[in-house]
């Protein structure tokens, strides 16, 4: 279960970067209209914010598996 969540997060981060690159290309192309530019920019910023939020920012201390199979501080 936790595995799946991690892989999901894994895919989204890399995929997100890909999507961000795509959108950036769109933004930089001369063909795009001003309205479209606004939309792409906003979407990009939103995606970036999401990526940032998926990164855990809580510092962790090292845990060790003891004889009973339980976790304790190392």
């Amino acid at each position: 279960m936790e595995h799946m969540e991690e892989t999901k997060k894994e895919i989204s981060l890399e995929e997100s970067f890909e999507k961000l690159d795509e959108m950036l290309n769109e933004l930089e192309s001369p063909d795009i209209s001003l309205e479209e530019s606004f939309r792409v920019y906003q979407e990009g910023m939103k995606l970036l914010k999401q990526c940032n939020e998926t990164i855990d920012r809580v510092e962790k201390s090292v845990l060790k598996l003891n004889e009973n199979g339980e976790l304790e501080e190392f």
Partner: protein, 401 residues
């Protein structure tokens, strides 16, 4: 009969010479049991090599210590390779060791090569079975001894790169009889705990110390583990079986931590970088749009009726100016010509002549007197000067020749 009597020095020298001349004694390998081993502070090692029948004194000088890769102790079975020579001072011969190895070490290497061949044939080293190491992990499992440089290095480097990754350590026994099962248990336990990647390894040591990581059972455990495994055994030059089976091989435990844990500072920078590019892209678009707007504004302003009127008015004013100028010029021209004529006329004016002292003389008939033929003596003449005339009578006529 007189016997030759020699000195001790001569005899010892003679014997030493015999040894030196003996080809076999220059490099010989001797196996035996270590006894009376003394590690001197100078770095030299003195010991005795013994077997059932006898002993031989050995020394390994500090300069040759690179030929010894482990700590020698009482009772060890070793093979000493070196030179047998005479220490004249004591009248003794010694084995001067260049290289010392454990007995049966050759066996271990052979076993390593064989297992490596077998498992390779089975396909366990094949690239297609290697699981990719996830880039952005949340949890890191470590199978290694809970004391020592390996675990310390891994924790330090992982923590430096990303303190938000959860490290779970399975404290394993990494050498000796219990090691194999301990390592296998560790891999299974961490797999069950659901970590994103496992580092399995230990610090440097001899081939015997590292042997657990060459065991088939451990190799299979690594191969079958559903979580990607990074092998981190010993130093860069040490290779064990699990280095081939693992999903990724790291030369050292420190390197393993770098491979497993992404650097969050780099990720943050990447985020900033992307944000900056978007901002700039948007800025550029806005600037372009503003420029386009300005461009049209200018053109519109130019085309406006007010602007057109101003334009025409300007044009008219210029024309007027030009006209005026042309007119003035023409007038000046004509005036100039007039002045010239006046001057010429003045030049030709009889009044001027009169002013210069010339007179205009006319006969009584009113003819202008030019020649003496027109007059004879006694005729009346009128002499005109500037301010009047003088009536005169011709007295006599003279001719110019």
């Amino acid at each position: 009969m007189a016997r030759n009597v020699y000195t001790v020095a001569q005899v010892n020298s003679y014997i030493k010479n015999m040894f030196t001349q003996d080809y076999m004694l220059q490099s010989i390998s001797v196996k035996g049991e270590v006894s009376n081993c003394k590690y001197h502070t100078s770095g030299h090692i003195y010991f005795t090599l013994k077997d059932r029948s006898g002993t031989i004194a050995c020394v390994m000088f500090a300069g040759s210590r690179s030929g010894l890769a482990f700590r020698m102790s009482e009772g060890m079975q070793v093979v000493v390779t070196g030179r047998i020579d005479v220490y004249e001072r004591d009248g003794k011969y010694q084995l001067y060791a260049q290289k010392i190895t454990r007995q049966g070490i050759g066996d271990l290497y052979a076993r390593f090569e064989q297992l490596k061949r077998e498992l390779e044939e089975e396909g366990m080293f094949a690239a297609q079975y290697k699981r990719p190491i996830p880039k952005y992990i949340r949890t890191l499992g470590v199978v290694t001894a809970q004391t020592g440089a390996a675990v310390r290095d891994i924790i330090n480097i992982a923590g430096r790169r990303n303190p938000y990754v959860q490290i779970i350590l399975y404290p394993a026994i990494v050498q000796g009889e219990a090691a194999v099962q301990s390592i296998i248990n560790g891999i299974h336990a961490l797999e069950d705990a659901g970590v994103d990647v496992i580092i399995a390894g230990r610090g440097g040591g001899s081939i015997e110390d590292l042997w657990a990581f060459n065991e088939e059972a451990v190799a299979r455990a690594v191969f079958e583990c559903s979580v990607p495994v990074i092998s981190a055994v010993g130093h860069e030059t040490d290779t064990t079986i699990i280095d081939f089976v693992a999903d990724l091989r790291a030369p050292t435990p420190s390197a393993a931590a770098e491979l497993a844990v992404y650097d969050i500072r780099e990720l943050s920078e990447r985020f900033s970088g992307v944000r900056e590019m978007y901002r700039r892209g948007m800025e550029r678009k806005l600037r372009e749009a503003a420029m386009q707007l300005q461009n049209r504004k200018t053109r519109l302003r130019y085309l406006s009726p007010l602007s057109q009127i101003r334009e025409k008015r300007n044009f008219a004013m210029n024309l007027e100016g030009a006209l005026q100028e042309a007119m003035d010029r023409k007038l000046a021209e004509k005036r100039q010509r007039l002045l010239l004529y006046i001057e010429r006329l003045k030049g030709l004016s009889p009044l001027e002549k009169l002013k210069q002292g010339y007179s205009y003389v006319s006969t009584t008939e009113g003819e202008t007197l030019i020649s003496v033929k027109q007059v004879k003596a006694g005729d009346r003449l009128k002499i005109y000067v500037t301010d009047g005339f003088v009536e005169a009578e011709a007295k006599s006529i003279g001719r110019l020749k």
